[in-house]
C-alpha cells in the first residue's frame, strides 16, 4: 500500500551526515590539477625530456635539485602529486564499489590511506631535501 506520508525526517541513525564532502572536495581539487597541470607535467617530465626531444640538460641533477627543493617545488608537489593522489584514490574507491569489490570501509581505508601515505612520503622527501 502506498501512503502519501513522507519518510521519517528525524535526525535518526539513517539521517547521518556523510563524510563524503571532505573526500569529494579533495577529489575535485585533484581533478582540476589532473586536468590542468598534470598534462603538462607528463608531457615534459615523462615524455619529451626522456625521449630527448627537449634538451637532455633540462633535468640536470643540480637544476632539478634546485627546482624541486624550493617554494615552487612545494607547490608542484601539492598540485601534481598530492591532490591528484586523492583524486585517484576517490575514483578507485568508487570504482571498487562499481565492480562490487571489497567493502565500503576497507576500500575507504585502503584508498584514502594510500593517498595520505604517499602524500606524506612526498612531503617528507621535500622536507629532507630542503633542510
Amino acid at each position: 500500500m502506498n501512503k502519501g506520508t513522507s519518510l521519517n525526517n528525524d535526525a535518526s541513525e539513517n539521517m547521518r551526515r556523510s563524510d563524503e564532502p571532505i573526500w569529494w572536495g579533495l577529489f575535485s581539487a585533484g581533478g582540476v590539477c589532473f586536468a590542468v597541470f598534470v598534462p603538462a607535467a607528463i608531457l615534459f617530465i615523462a615524455l619529451l625530456i626522456p625521449a630527448g626531444i627537449v634538451g637532455p640538460d633540462a633535468l640536470r641533477f643540480e637544476r632539478a635539485h634546485s627546482m624541486v627543493f624550493s617554494l615552487p617545488g612545494l607547490i608542484f608537489i601539492g598540485m601534481v602529486i598530492c591532490l591528484p593522489l586523492f583524486h585517484a584514490a576517490h575514483r578507485i574507491r568508487h570504482g571498487l564499489h562499481d565492480l562490487k569489490l571489497g567493502t565500503e570501509h576497507l576500500n575507504k581505508v585502503a584508498t584514502y590511506g594510500g593517498a595520505a601515505l604517499l602524500s606524506v612520503l612526498a612531503l617528507v622527501g621535500f622536507a629532507i631535501g630542503i633542510l
Binding site: 500500500m1 581533478g31 582540476v32 589532473f34 586536468a35 590542468v36 597541470f37 598534470v38 598534462p39 603538462a40 607535467a41 607528463i42 608531457l43 615534459f44 617530465i45 615523462a46 615524455l47 625530456i49 626522456p50 625521449a51 627537449v54 634538451g55 640538460d57 633540462a58 633535468l59 641533477f61 632539478a64 635539485h65 627546482m67 624541486v68 608537489i77 601534481v80 602529486i81 591528484p84 593522489l85 583524486h87 585517484a88 575514483r91 578507485i92 568508487h94 570504482g95 562499481d98 565492480l99 562490487k100 569489490l101 604517499l118 612520503l121 612526498a122 622527501g125 621535500f126 629532507i128 631535501g129
Partner: protein, 131 residues
C-alpha cells in the same frame, strides 16, 4: 494483502559492459590508473634526487625505458581525456551566472582548455629556460 511476486535481477559486476555509455564512464574512471603510475614515478624521482646525482641519473634512465614511456604516454592521453570529461562537468556543477543568465557552458569549457594551454606554455618556458 495477496503476495506479490516480483522479479528483481541484481546488478551484476559486469553491468558496465552492457551499454556503450557505461564503458565510456568506466574509461573515465580508469584514467586514474596510469595517473597513479606517473605519480609513483614522480615519487621515485623525488627520492632518487635526495640520494644524489648517480641515483638521479638512474631514475632518468628508468624514465627513458620504452615501457615506461609507453605507460606514461597512456597517462598523458588519459589526462587529456579526463580533462575533456571534467571540463564538461564543471559548468553543470557550478553554473556561473552573469546578469541573470547562465554563462554558456561551451564558453566555460573553452576557458578551461585555454588554461591547459597556458600551463603548457608556462611549463615549456620553465623547462627550456636557459637551455
Amino acid at each position: 494483502m495477496a503476495k506479490r511476486t516480483s522479479y528483481f535481477p541484481e546488478l551484476k559486476r559486469n553491468w558496465w559492459l552492457k551499454h556503450p555509455y557505461f564503458k565510456k564512464y568506466m574509461a573515465r574512471e580508469a584514467t586514474v590508473l596510469p595517473l597513479v603510475f606517473f605519480l609513483l614515478c614522480l615519487l621515485a624521482g623525488l627520492y632518487s634526487l635526495l640520494q644524489g646525482a648517480e641515483s638521479w641519473q638512474g631514475w632518468l634512465t628508468f624514465m627513458q625505458s620504452p615501457l615506461v614511456i609507453a605507460v606514461n604516454a597512456l597517462a598523458f592521453i588519459a589526462s587529456l581525456f579526463h580533462a575533456w570529461t571534467f571540463f564538461q562537468l564543471f559548468p553543470r556543477v557550478m553554473p556561473l551566472r552573469a546578469g541573470g543568465r547562465t554563462l554558456p557552458p561551451n564558453l566555460m569549457v573553452l576557458g578551461q582548455w585555454f588554461g591547459v594551454v597556458v600551463v603548457m606554455v608556462l611549463a615549456a618556458w620553465i623547462f627550456m629556460r636557459g637551455l
